[in-house]
């Protein structure tokens, strides 16, 4: 099996889906001639030409709404936000149009659009550029929200997202673009709405997503040295959440730690915590524990930012408390 980067996996997904379906096009800032701010769209302009790979002016509201209108008309746009932090400029278009036009029209129109781009902190780019807004979008009915943590899922889920007939928010992680791992050859589709058991274990369950999955994996190496084996679940799709996979694990291990980069209030993990205590109350040997970023804007200073993130140190402390 080839080993490629998360970035390369996304590139393959875009290339394959654009080749498969003429109606798929990519639009965003610097996606064409610059080959993408994070090089996700490297080579696509050369391959598909300027009709299919389009550099847009800096107008998030404009090009997001344009994409939604084009989707209503029957095209399958992939709209890139240079970072999901910039999607906030287009929030009205995403929430009020992409997510609601079908309902408001009584089902007459569909919006087969994918919004994608990088997200996440840890790069010292400051408060306005470090958001992980998956929870803000997951709260909106009708939006599918996906956050892949591994290259194979990045490819398989982006392909599925493009083939979905409904609006998808696809949040990539900036720190993971260079991360290398195995990706199957040939047509590789990952099902939306299905979590992944990254590592089996019996002492407790970790539910996580995106960059935090890797933080959890690093913490787990240390725990294994102490003979503690966690079962790690990468939700992959935030909405619709795969509760069954989480339930199967928690009913086995009886303890749950959620690790998410969202800020705490109404982060996606709060929803998981609610559902677990609601449905699996009798299976729990301890309260559900939840580790998030600190409830502060993201600072620039490196040490400060690492302290804000759900870092390894805080994960290990939370595990200690969970298992006490």
């Amino acid at each position: 099996m080839p080993t490629i980067t998360y970035r390369e996996a996304l590139n393959q997904a875009l290339s394959e889906e654009m080749e498969r379906d003429d109606k798929v096009f990519l639009m965003g800032e610097e996606v064409a001639e610059y080959n993408g701010a994070y090089k996700v769209s490297q080579g696509l302009l050369d391959k598909f030409g300027p009709k299919r790979v389009i550099d847009s002016p800096i107008s998030e509201t404009g090009f997001t709404g344009l994409g939604i209108g084009a989707a209503m008309y029957g095209l399958r746009p992939v709209i890139e936000f240079m970072t999901w932090s910039f999607s906030l400029v287009a929030y009205d278009q995403i929430v009020n149009n992409a997510a609601q036009v079908r309902y408001m029209s009584g089902g007459q129109f569909s919006v087969p659009i994918v919004f994608r781009g990088s997200s996440g902190g840890g790069l010292q780019v400051g408060a306005t550029h470090s958001h992980t807004p998956e929870n803000w979008y997951a709260n909106v009915p009708a939006l599918t929200v996906i956050t892949p943590a591994f290259p194979d899922d990045a490819k398989g889920l982006l392909k599925s997202a493009i083939r979905s007939n409904n609006p998808v928010c696809f949040l990539e992680n900036e720190k993971l673009y260079g991360y290398k791992d195995e990706v199957p050859e040939g047509e590789h589709l990952t099902p939306i709405g299905k979590a992944r058991v990254v590592k089996a274990g019996s002492d407790f369950t970790i539910v996580s997503n995106s960059g935090s999955v890797h933080r959890a994996m690093n913490a787990m190496k240390k725990l294994e040295e102490q003979g503690i084996h966690a079962e790690l679940i990468d939700v992959r799709t935030i909405k619709p959440l795969d509760f069954d996979t989480i339930a199967a694990s928690v009913s086995k291990t009886n303890r749950l730690l959620i690790v998410e980069e969202n800020k705490p209030f109404a982060g996606w993990g709060a929803q998981v915590a609610y559902e677990v205590q609601r449905e699996l109350f009798d299976d729990l040997d301890a309260p559900v524990h939840r580790l998030t970023s600190l409830d502060v804007p993201q600072p620039y200073n490196g040490r400060l930012e690492q302290a804000v993130l759900p870092n390894e140190e805080r994960i290990l402390a939370a595990v200690k408390e969970l298992l006490a």
């Binding site: 509201t61 404009g62 209108g69 008309y73 029957g74 095209l75 979905s164």
Partner: protein, 352 residues
Amino acid sequence: MPAADPDVKRAKTNSQTRLPDLQPKEKITLLRQMMLIRRFEEKAKQAFTQAKIKGFCHLYNGQEAVAVGSISVLNEDDAVITAYRDHGHALARGVDANACMAELFGKITGTSRGKGGSMHFFDVKKHFYGGHGIVGGQIPLGTGLAFAQKYLDTGRVTLAYMGDGAINQGAVHESMNLAALWKLPIIYIIENNEYSMGTTIARSSAGDPLTKRAGAFDMAAIQANGMDIDDVRAKTFEAVSLARTESQPTLMEIKTYRYFGHSMSDPGHYRSKEEIEKRRQSDPIEIYKARLVADKIITAESYEALDAEVTAEAQAAYDFAEQSAEPEIETVFEDIFAPEDQIFEFRPEPRY
């Protein structure tokens, strides 16, 4: 007629696609459409006062010539999108009056199965893309429709309407830039009824006339008299020709006036009864009626007969809406997701 601004770039008219002269029957059709909208809106007003219509209801009375005139120069498969004062545009596009009234009443037989309401009429078969509540929010959508029309090489165009209040939204400026930059076949139509809810143009917008804004993007701009359906037709046709033959956008400002408040909730303290009475002297239906009578296409009697027809049609729509069923509660879970046909269905049941 407003004087044309000499600095405003005129749309180039392709002489091979001159607006064809209308046959008498066609003129009567246009008159009838305006009259139907007028009577429909009066019925809606009545229904709202009877609490059969809830929420917001923005009536089009006075502006009929804008929707009817501009839409009448389109082909059936061109696209139309507008804001929330959308009853007139829907009816002008041929959306069924019964279904429109039923939607106002929130019934299952409504254009959106009761899920949209007054601000959200849609009809995919009539290429009517809504019906939108967020001021200016529909303008990027319309720009996307035109983008798709060009991408798919359809030869079609898009009319995207907005009020004078919408033009200051960033969404509108961004859209205009995209349309001009990428040469999209779209006509942005400002229905300038001089009031953005309770705020006059003078209090909301810097830069006069509004069409000047097109100049910032090297975009063509045209003004029209919204009380004269023939002027609306002629000017819209120029813009439509430009879009269809050269794929260039136009910004149109059609000067019009609304007789009723911004919505049914608006007591209208910002203008005088005298002003409204005075403006009613330039009623678009009366103006066109007088023209057709002068051209001996209709008589006072045949006009009355027409009025009786459309009044009956509006009443029939009201009755249809009254008698239609409410949607079942379970339908709240319907019409959210399009069925998947390329990947497996990952939302078979609602989870919450």
